[in-house]
């Protein structure tokens, strides 16, 4: 989604078949600078809050002896799916227990995510010059999530216990953050899920809101 592009579309006067009245144009401009960004920020806060309920990232694993496949689902606060079975399998290659990966991040997320949502909500109503700083943590959430996930996947695939039963037959590897890979007899597919798209959408709304308000501020200064 090209958020910047959208904002620039909004900058241009609306082209209609009929010549719009001056007052209407003013109304639209006022809305774009007033309640629209406020609404976008409220919506972003709601999306971030809702993301707690959905998985951010998932991996499906298939192997001959698991006709139903195995699943891992990562919520921002906890893990779900066949985690115990995956840990059981991973111990053969000396991989860490999945519950230990990003344990600190997950425990903090319980408090941080609602905090980010509330800060974003505050940004909707605070009219001080630094209001946009309140929305920055939420804005950065998708990027931070991907970076952290990637780092942990790399670490889990490389910090293998050399004493594990299959340590000699499995080379260090990085499970895919996105798309398909192969680990032992397993074919794995990784993908983002609803929770991640919710925070991504929230980030877009925040960017749009910041753009609109900055433009409004700029036009006020110009006017």
């Amino acid at each position: 989604m090209n958020v910047i592009g959208n904002a620039s579309v909004l900058e241009r006067p609306v082209q209609c078949a009929e010549q719009p009245s001056v007052s209407r144009e003013a109304k639209v401009g006022k809305a774009l600078h007033g309640w629209v960004p406020q609404f976008l920020l409220i919506a972003a806060a709601a999306l971030i809050g809702a993301s707690l309920l959905f998985s951010f990232w998932g991996m499906n694993l298939r192997a001959p002896q698991y006709p139903g496949g195995l699943k891992a689902r990562i919520y921002i606060t906890h893990l779900a799916g066949d985690i115990q079975e995956l840990n059981g399998l991973n111990h053969y290659i000396g991989m860490m227990n999945l519950n230990q990966a990003a344990a600190l991040e997950r425990s903090l997320a319980v408090y941080l995510i609602p905090t980010f949502a509330l800060l974003t909500l505050a940004a909707a109503f605070v009219r001080l010059r630094w209001w946009w700083l309140l929305a920055i943590p939420a804005l950065g959430l998708p990027v931070v999530f991907i970076a952290d996930l990637g780092a942990w996947l790399y670490y889990a695939g490389h910090a293998l216990d050399p004493r594990a039963p299959l340590s000699s037959s499995i080379k260090p590897f990085t499970p895919p953050v996105l798309g398909e890979g192969k680990i032992g007899q397993f074919t794995v597919v990784a993908f983002f899920e609803t929770g991640f798209y919710l925070v991504l959408a929230a980030s877009s709304l925040i960017v749009a809101a910041i753009a609109l308000r900055w433009r409004a501020a700029a036009s006020r200064r110009a006017g």
Partner: protein, 667 residues
């Protein structure tokens, strides 16, 4: 579903048969079914070649198509068959007739680790002991699925042990035996198990008359002292257990009671049991007296026992039963005076007494009489209202045969047992004629034809019981009958003088019955079976939570988890809480001293379907199966010093052989 495509299958079979008979090949078309069906041309060409190469007839091919269940596809029905002298229960899938499982019940069984050290299974077997003598085998005859409103509900299965007069309860959530009860008054049973329409009671009749409570009495006092007993075991569905304290029995004359059936719908609250020694023969072949085989077959009539069990229940509640060895027994004079027991003359030494689906008639197979006799429940009630009886020598009221008999149908030699379909037909096994005979029921089941023999099909050989899809319930399913043949003679590859039994699947959907499949059973002699729609069962795939006690169907107090494994010594007792997970036991080294007593718990923390572990401790005769999520316990005295190994006996993983440990016993 296999049969959703019946039209396609018939079309394909038709084309195939034509191709085979006329010798046509690949360019046949004609069977055009819904999408998903293979084009008949391709199928028939290939199949015709195969059929020709294997000398299969068109009938063989259609039978194959009706029974083949491809790998990964499920059967439509479960069939629970008694396991005869194996003491177990066999579970088959239909229509494939594949053996899916043997459920350990009365006999120790290695694969399931049943009765080979594991505490709970030892306790279950121990419940069934006679006085203080352990019994390590059984002879299972008649399985009975639990019912709700006269229809199988797929929750529990009951099975009798004829040899020792016992009943077992199997929970169909995990297909495991939970309880065995030994009749405390009678030595053996045969006609159980039969459930009442809501599984309030499990009916369990004695077979060979003996003095009650295992007392001694000379055979010369047979008539005075020897008795039969029809036991009504109370089933507590909440607990999933038989409650002996709420159970009762009815004392009956020593007529050698046989198969029973519970009334349903109009006859709910009543039960019907046949008998075959109203002569009260006592044998004595060695003294020149007629042997039992002829002594019990002198009279033309034996007695169908007609019991008002609802009334019996009230009489017991009113305190009119006598407690013998902990069992409340309604004595014979009370059963007569309270209107609980009646007799109906029945020809001759019969086997089955089977209640029709609406509960209005009781069909009795004559065994030594070529007829089935149909009794009317309504006519019995009329006779009771009119008090129109004769009396036997014990003073029990006996209905007048012609006043309660509705019809007799001549079927052939040795009619034993009858089941029903959904079209108003009955199917009776003929032992001597070795076959199944189909016959039509009169009104209200069929408007035309009345009570009439329709068709006979030979089975191989010496057919005992037969069973139909839900064929003894209030709403039979039709489609199939299975004949449980006693002899297979020449039907299978020879495997020595002890031959397998032969269970034959019969298609009853067409205008003529067709035998589809011979299933050899080489592990015991099934007597009776019940067939239930697969969707009625909801079995667990793994235990609901880790640390599950299968006997209690609840969390085990001795469950352990990873990191919580421990060994504790209290004086001479060593208690171990072990954890199993692919591919290790934790702990892997255990050291004790000779003379210690060991209590050992193992919890499998597996949550994955089919990730079962076994556990063997050779030298101490310990062998168990630990299903995913299960906690098991065993204990033993350390009598031998030395170094012992324990290991996983169920191939669980690539490192299964490494799943082992040392049990060190210091002298």
């Amino acid at each position: 579903m296999l049969w959703a495509k019946t039209k396609v299958v018939q079309g394909v079979v038709g084309v195939l048969a034509v191709a085979l008979l006329v010798g046509l090949s690949a360019c046949q078309t004609g069977a055009s079914g819904p999408s998903g069906a293979a084009p008949a041309a391709g199928l028939s060409a290939n199949a015709a070649d195969v059929a020709k190469a294997r000398s299969l007839t068109p009938d063989d091919v259609s039978a194959a198509l009706k029974t083949y269940v491809p790998g990964g596809k499920y059967d439509d029905y479960y069939m629970f068959a008694s396991g005869g002298q194996s003491g177990q229960v066999f579970v088959f899938g239909l229509p494939s007739m594949r053996l899916l499982k043997t459920i350990a019940v009365f006999t120790p069984e290695s694969w399931q680790g049943y009765g080979q050290g594991e505490e709970d299974t030892m306790k279950i077997l121990d419940e069934g002991k006679f006085k203080n003598n352990p019994i390590l085998w059984g002879d299972t005859h008649h399985p009975a699925l639990s019912e709700t409103n006269g229809q199988y509900d797929g929750q529990y299965l009951f099975i009798n042990d004829k040899a020792n007069g016992r009943i077992a309860v199997i929970d169909l959530r995990d297909f495991r035996t939970k309880q065995i009860v030994k009749n405390p008054v009678m030595i053996n049973n045969h006609g159980g198990a039969f459930v009442t329409p809501n599984t309030d009671y499990i009916i369990d009749p004695s077979q060979y008359a003996v003095p009650l409570d295992f007392q001694y009495a000379p055979i010369s006092e047979y008539k005075e002292k020897y008795r039969g007993l029809i036991t009504y075991w109370k089933f507590d569905r909440q607990k999933g257990r038989i409650d002996p304290a709420q159970s009762f029995a009815i004392e009956v004359p020593p007529y050698w009671q046989d198969l029973c059936d519970a009334g349903k719908l109009v006859s709910d609250g009543w039960a019907f049991c046949g008998s075959f020694n109203s002569e009260m023969a006592t044998g004595g072949i060695e003294e020149g007296k007629p042997p039992f085989e002829s002594g019990t077959a002198q009279r033309d009539m034996d007695y169908l026992h007609v019991m008002n069990w609802k009334k019996a229940e009230e009489v017991v509640k009113a305190g009119k039963a006598q407690t013998i060895n902990g069992m409340k027994v309604i004595r014979l004079p009370t059963a007569v005076s309270e209107g609980i027991l009646y007799l109906a003359p029945e020809p001759k030494s019969p086997h089955g007494s089977d209640v029709t689906p609406k509960g209005d008639y009781i069909v009795v197979g004559g065994k030594l009489d070529p007829h089935v006799t149909i009794f009317s429940f309504k006519k019995m009630q009329d006779a009771i209202a009119k008090q129109s009886f004769d009396r036997d020598s014990f003073g029990v009221p006996v209905f007048k045969f012609n006043e309660v008999m509705e019809a007799q149908v001549e079927l052939g030699l040795g009619p034993l047992h009858t089941v029903f379909d959904d079209q108003g037909y009955a199917y009776t096994s003929l032992f001597l004629d070795s076959g199944v005979v189909k016959w039509s029921l009169g009104a209200p089941y069929r408007t035309e034809g009345g009570w009439k023999r329709v068709e006979h099909i030979p089975t191989q050989y010496n057919l005992g019981h037969l069973t139909a899809v839900e064929g003894d319930t209030v709403s039979p399913g039709g489609k199939f009958v299975v004949a449980l043949n006693k002899w297979s003679v020449d039907r299978f590859l020879p495997v020595g003088p002890l031959h397998p039994q032969n269970l034959q699947l019969i298609d009853i959907t067409g205008s003529k019955m067709q035998v589809l499949y011979d299933a050899p059973v080489g592990v015991g002699e099934p007597h009776y079976a019940q067939i239930i729609k697969a969707e009625r069962l909801k079995p667990w795939k793994v235990y609901p939570e880790t640390g599950w006690n299968a006997r209690a169907q609840a969390k085990d107090p001795n469950a352990t988890t990873a990191g919580k494994e421990k060994i504790e010594r209290r004086g001479k007792t060593v208690e171990i809480w072990m954890r199993a997970m692919r591919s290790n036991f934790n702990p892997e080294r255990i050291t004790v001293k000779k003379g210690d007593h060991v209590i050992w718990h193992i919890t499998s923390i597996e949550r994955t379907e089919d990730a079962t572990h076994g556990f063997a401790l050779p030298g101490y005769n310990i062998n168990l199966s630990i299903d995913p999520g299960e906690t098991v316990t065993f204990e033993f005295d350390v009598t031998e010093s030395g170094v012992f190994t324990y290991y996983c006996t169920e191939f669980c993983s690539a490192l299964h052989l490494e799943m082992a440990g040392y049990f060190m016993v210091e002298p």
